[in-house]
Every structure is written in C-alpha cells, then in structure tokens.
Symmetry: C2
Subunit: 265 residues, 2 copies
Amino acid sequence: MATGRTHRPATRSRGIPEATVARLPLYLRALTALSERSVPTVSSEELAAAAGVNSAKLRKDFSYLGSYGTRGVGYDVEYLVYQISRELGLTQDWPVVIVGIGNLGAALANYGGFASRGFRVAALIDADPAMAGKPVAGMPVQHTDDLEKIIEENGVSIGVIATPAGAAQQVSERLIAAGVTSILNFAPTVLSVPDGVDVRKVDLSIELQILAFHEQRKAGEETGGGAEAAGTPAEGTTGGASGTGAAPAAGRAGRRLRAQGRARG
Amino acid sequence: MATGRTHRPATRSRGIPEATVARLPLYLRALTALSERSVPTVSSEELAAAAGVNSAKLRKDFSYLGSYGTRGVGYDVEYLVYQISRELGLTQDWPVVIVGIGNLGAALANYGGFASRGFRVAALIDADPAMAGKPVAGMPVQHTDDLEKIIEENGVSIGVIATPAGAAQQVSERLIAAGVTSILNFAPTVLSVPDGVDVRKVDLSIELQILAFHEQRKAGEETGGGAEAAGTPAEGTTGGASGTGAAPAAGRAGRRLRAQGRARG
DNA sequence: ATGTCTTTGTGAACGCGTGCACAAAGATTG
DNA sequence: CAATCTTTGTGCACGCGTTCACAAAGACAT
C-alpha cells in the first residue's frame, strides 16, 4: 500500500475500524462498475473477488455499517453504492486545493478520479510567479500569496501538497492556519501538524523501495540457494554477507531464473 | 498511507515483519538527511522523532536487522544508512520501466526520488504511436510493441503502470510474461497476478476518500452535536438519516467551526 | 578499576485485524 | 405451508504489530 497513516492513533472513528474505512473506497469502485453494467444485486463472494479481498472480511466490513444485505440473495448494488458513499461523505461536495503545480501537481489537476467522487479542484496554487495565470487543466494557476483568501472563500478543508520537500512543512502550516484540516502529502517529508488535523502520505519512492526489498529477496532465494533458510542472525561487519553474492549482476541473473513464478510458501 | 498491500499474505519475508519493511525507507530518508548534515550518531529517540514514529517501535524494528547500535551512545548514522540500504536492496541497481506516459507517467519519469535511491528509469513505454520518439524527461518514449524486448534487454524486474484502468490488466500480463515480478500500480483497478509477483497499489482517489470520511466525521461532531453518540445502528431506508443533516452546506458550515483544532480523544 | 549515567535491545502484555465456521434469515420450490 | 437451499451476519480463536518497562551493555568520569 502506497499510503501511510499518520496521526489518528488507533481510535475507531465511530465503531468503524480504520482498516475497514480504508477498504470502503475499494468496494465502492467495484460496486460502481457493477452499477454501470446494470447489475442489480451481488453476493459477498462476487463482490469480494471484484474488490480483491476475502469475502468474510467484506461481510464483516459491511456489518459495521449495518445490515444492508438480504440473506439468500446478496446486496442491492445501487443501495450499497449509496450507503457507502454516504458513509464516506461523498454525497457532499468537497472543494480541494492543490499546492505545488510541478509535474506531479499538474498530473493531479488533470486526474479524472477526483471529480467523479465528489471532489472538486477549487484552485491550483504555486509559489512561482511565472506560473501565475498559466492555465493547467483548464484552470489558471494562482499565486501562493492568495492561499489564505482562496481557502476561506471556497470553504476548503482538504489540501493536497505536491511541492518540493523543503516547502511542504511551511505550506501545511499556512493551509492549517487558514482552515484546512485534512492534508494529502506527496512531498517526501514528515509533516508535523496539530491535533485534529489528518495527514495521509503518498511517497512513490518508498513504494518502490518496498518492492525492491521483496525483489531482492526473490533473487537471493534462487541465486544464493538458501541464504535465509538457516535463519542466521545475519551480519559480520562488512557488506555482501547474506543474500547479495554478486550484487551488481544479481538483477539480471536472478531475473532470468525466476521467470515462471514459483509458488509462495 | 496511500498504499495497499496486495498478495503476500502475512508471510514474514525472512524474519523481518512486513510492517517493519514498510518503515525502513522512512528511517533511511531521515538518516540520509542527518548524513548530509554530517551528524555522526543519533539516538533512537531523535531518529524516531525525525521519522515520525515511536522510539520503541524504531528500536524493535532495528532489532530485526541486528544489533547496530551502541548502548549509551546511539546509532552510527553512516553505518546504519549502509545497513538499511543493503537490507532494502538499494545497493544494487534497479532498472524500472514506466508504462503509460500520460500526465502521471510523465510526472513519474521526472520524479527525482527514483534515481537517488538506486532506481533507474530504463524506458518509458506508451501505446499511443503519436507519443513514440517524443522526449519525456530527456528520454524518448517507446511503443508498447517493443515492451517485451525492452524488458529482456534491460533485465527489468520492476514495472510501473500508469495507464488508464482499462489497459492495466493486459499491460501487467505482458510485463509479467516478459519477466517482471514486481509492479507498482497507479491504475484504479485490481490486478490479478500469479503467485510470486508482488503488486503495490497507489490510488489517489482512495486516499482522498479516506480523508473525506474523517473530515465528514469532524464536521458532523460539531454541527450535528452527537449524531453518532447514541450508537444508533443507523438506517431507515432513504437518505439523510444520521450525520448529514444539511449535507450541501455542511462543508462550509463545519469548516468554519472547527478552525482551532480540537483535542482528539 | 569502580561507579554512575545513558541508551539500547527485548521479554511480555495487550489490542486490533483476519479468517473460520456456523447459526439465523430469508428466498424459492413443490 | 413445509422443506430445501443460498447467503448473510457474527462469535470465536489466532496471529501480527504495538507499546511498556526493564535488565544488560557500554561510555564516561573519577
């Protein structure tokens, strides 16, 4: 998962576990697809498959919302779409500002997934005066000087930070001071925010590093034989101890070997 | 967290819990920053603060890697950077392909965080013939027809999918058939992949929806008073039952009220 | 060398999330 | 109306992850 919860300890938000909340959008997406195909009802088994989760987990998730299913039949697609949307707060309009209109910010501004889910990009904000007035995604970029005014006038409570790491903390402080209470942070920094403010973090580099870890492990298993099998606590002092016998070449050599996807124990 | 683990049940990868692996890049980033400021050693307390986690958690995380600290002193920054990098497999070179060079794909291609961590963008691939040859991030876009050849020749084992949802599954199949075993998926779809292939998912829309949920809850607490307090199992049949009394206006009204960040229970 | 002080590394307890397995509920058929 | 069959909703047990709290380890001073 490319995300990273921050803050919000382990508090259940109202009886609905955080883990469940994180899956609701997944269900909603699958249900929307079914709705578009005019499928009237769906069983937990089918829906779970479409959402990529276990059916028992799905049923338990839904049980936190209430009893919206019919035994022997399944769930009414339209009704469930509505209930989940309402639970997530997507039946109302959420104005959002994007701060930092670089490559990523522009990509976000153009991203279609926002509008379709009750989110509306209210403004694009950048610190570069040269950007001001330039149209991005059919909308003029505004200067950081007007940040507070924009937030106020549009009643924005959700902000997206796509600035360089160095600017993120300061931007978050201005957003919060102006009234924003939820931040989606793409800058590779830990934001320190007051209580009552939610921060979610997306770090592309971190995701890749996690993949690299597993990738290395796969390669090590096949080239090295059983580097980790013995359960050695690892480590002498220098490098190249455990898995990475021939580090630079491992990427290639390993790759060719495991082409046929082994079974995972 | 913007991520979503997929596959890889609850298997510990070698004694290192998945949750720990997910935090290692965080520590690494904080350590790199310290290293650049030539800080020689750091205590678990300091480092934990910089990474935004609990110090006990950090120490336990490090204990899975081995005993790299010195009691009474702390951790040697340079040494720890090296150990974590090695553990994550970042001491070797990881060629990566990006498929789907739209706004997001281009943003990823330009993203600096890759190169600095051992990742190298080996190729940019797009299905649009009009894109072929066009330079993006100083690199010519190549056509999907050559996908297999590119993977083979560069020994690519990690692929990034930034295509529209409809194309993602097919692209993933081609990537996997050609030898890719780790995929970072930005398309809003559930990829179905064989065992042995890791998929991590980043969905911007999902992150926003999770924020909206908490945001709605904050607004509801203040405007509605105690809509959820009574613990009503919720639900009649139509809408507007529980929290969302005046749905359309709630965004604005709520926002102005909670401006001073309440304490969170 | 001895004592004090700092900080790590970890045993143990706790809580959340997951998955199994089944009883309850209702649809459907005869 | 009774029997059967499907599918939900959930009690329960298990395992992972987090956190506490403290003993062991080593630096540093005397």
